[in-house]
Symmetry: C2
Subunit: 121 residues, 2 copies
């Protein structure tokens, strides 16, 4: 089973049309999103820092820090996201340790990519 198949039946889903934003930097962060279908782009300021496909996790930073989003997410094609609020997030971590390590793996990958961009400056 693919990681995002775990979330295919999450009751709380959001559809975002191509060209629209799931969220923008500065928006309050009250949920983590799992991209179920489509292709999205992560932007820091005007700079594209990641291109993501089904299975991507987005918004986890704001959820764990309880701070506004520091990046924006643009739907490049029509996208469907599962929305995981804080309560559900903590249930998933407690019940599914694999979920926790997968979130960490994705955050680590993103941090590594950002560090590489910094070194290219």
């Amino acid at each position: 089973m693919l990681f995002h198949d775990l979330f295919r039946h999450e009751p709380n889903q959001r559809r975002i049309a191509a060209g629209d934003f799931l969220f923008r930097a500065g928006d309050p962060g009250d949920a983590l999103y799992v991209l179920l279908e489509g292709h999205a782009r992560v932007l820091v300021g005007e700079r594209a820092v990641d291109e993501v496909e089904a299975g991507a996790i987005l918004g986890e930073m704001s959820l764990v820090e309880r701070l506004p989003h520091s990046a924006s997410v643009l739907a490049v094609s029509d996208c469907t996201f599962a929305a995981i609020d804080e309560k559900r997030f903590h249930i998933l971590i407690a019940q599914t340790p694999h979920f926790a390590t997968e979130v960490m793996r994705i955050m680590a990958h993103r941090l590594r990519a950002t560090n590489q961009l910094l070194q290219q400056e």
Copy 2:
């Protein structure tokens, strides 16, 4: 109880003298470290990206991605670190959901700081 008090009695500890490195970018990443005492600096290339005190978690990226370290950690003062290997890491996540969210919170904080450096370029 402070977060790092959870690790004060970890059997596997490493002492690093001021001016020495805990690890350098490119070294294999086989453990996560919790700074128990001292003051350390995280370097990406030659650039200091973070200054950390007791309670800091380091090396988590390499552990979850099973990749070499992408940053270096320099002991600014004499430091003591608890070393958490992969097996112990997964036990901690399964037994202590708070540990998982704390690791995520620290990774999010670091990613946010790195994003801010990128935007200042």
